[in-house]
């Protein structure tokens, strides 16, 4: 009886769509319970829960994705919606256009070149190299870039999330050590290097830093989309 119900449900989209939302809610509850500790990232927790469920039930990823694709589809429209926070902060963009443009170019290039250069040094290549290229870009755009340059979207997404969590943890101590005290510079750097997770962290620390982080994230999404194919070609 129960095996019948299971085999019926596990082959349809409903169960996996439901579990995706459920796992995210659990991840979010843990994140809130830890006082929004950057280590307890709700997305990483949700991925861990779902990965464990799939591995223990022997369900393959394609079956899971049949259900999860409804959530996945919204990445495109959500990327378009990033125009709203960008426009809301357009006054900031106008006032500090030059420092922003220079910092954006430096941050985007250093993120890509250092990742690919170090990866080559450690003997990494192939799929990993392609997936590393867009690691500092917000996940929906990074996945789009990966599809463009022939990288695996799933591996890209994992590297993007780990980059964001890493950035969220190190940004405050690192910039304190470098004695960068301007909130706009601190926030912008967090958004350029660590996308949405860095932006969430910046918002926790300071309002202005959060606004600049959001701009940094949106601008880097555009710049890295343009530069990624060229930079990757240098290392392949």
């Amino acid at each position: 009886m129960i095996p019948d119900i299971w085999s019926y449900l596990s082959h349809g989209p409903l169960l996996w769509l439901g579990l995706t939302l459920g796992a995210y809610l659990v991840g979010d509850a843990i994140f809130t319970a830890t006082g929004r500790n950057p280590l307890a990232n709700p997305v990483l927790l949700a991925i861990g829960i779902l990965a464990a469920v799939l591995l223990t039930t022997g369900t393959d990823y394609d079956t899971y994705f049949e259900g999860a694709q409804f959530v996945h589809f919204l990445l495109g429209p959500a990327t378009v919606c990033l125009a709203v926070p960008l426009y809301a902060n357009i006054a900031h963009v106008r006032r500090t256009a030059l420092p922003m443009a220079a910092a954006l170019l430096a941050g985007a290039l250093v993120a890509m070149v250092s990742a690919l250069g170090l990866a080559r040094l450690f003997g990494l290549d192939g799929a990993v190299l392609t997936a590393l290229t867009a690691k500092s870009v917000t996940a929906p755009v990074a996945i789009g870039i990966a599809e463009r340059i022939g990288g695996p979207p799933t591996l890209t997404a994992a590297l993007v999330l780990i980059t964001g969590v890493t950035g969220g943890i190190i940004v405050t101590p690192l910039l304190n050590a470098l004695r960068v005290r301007d909130w706009r510079a601190r926030g912008f750097a967090a958004g350029v290097a660590a996308h949405g997770i860095g932006t969430a962290r910046a918002l926790q620390v300071h309002q202005t830093a959060g606004a600049f982080a959001g701009i940094g994230m949106a601008l880097n999404a555009m710049l890295t989309s343009l530069l990624a194919p060229w930079v990757l070609a240098l290392f392949r």
């Binding site: 378009v80 709203v84 030059l98 990742a115 690192l174």
Partner: protein, 119 residues
């Protein structure tokens, strides 16, 4: 609400069509974002209309990464073999990118005579 979603999908469609048609390196949705930002600049009224719906979509942005992130189970062998090297690359590269962006921002700000904002 439906009207706003329709409009957002139209921008994405336009972005995809232009990007595919011209063979641009920009993913369609990114071009859609750029087009929508340009439209806001030309028609601020459009912004006040769409803002609520767009912020609703963005409020749960991180949920949308979960399905593709779960795909990491396909790469468990790879992560077992190369996980440490990948982790080191990500840590070093993220630190370098944060430092570069922040230092260049402050440096150009001083160069162009801008005031630092410390509060």
């Amino acid at each position: 609400m439906i009207r706003h979603l329709f409009l957002i999908l139209c921008y994405q469609l336009a972005g995809e069509a232009i990007s595919q048609g011209l063979g641009l390196p920009l993913p369609g949705p990114v071009l859609g974002m750029a087009l929508l930002t340009a439209s806001f600049l030309a028609m601020p009224r459009l912004y006040t209309r769409i803002e609520g719906t767009a912020r609703g979509v963005l409020a749960h942005l991180s949920l949308l990464f979960v399905p593709v992130g779960v795909g990491v189970i396909r790469y468990l062998d790879l992560l077992q073999r190369e996980g440490l090297a990948i982790a080191l690359v990500l840590l070093a590269s993220t630190a370098l990118a944060i430092a570069a962006a922040a230092l260049v921002f402050v440096w150009v700000l001083r160069l162009t005579g801008g005031q630092e904002q410390l509060r």
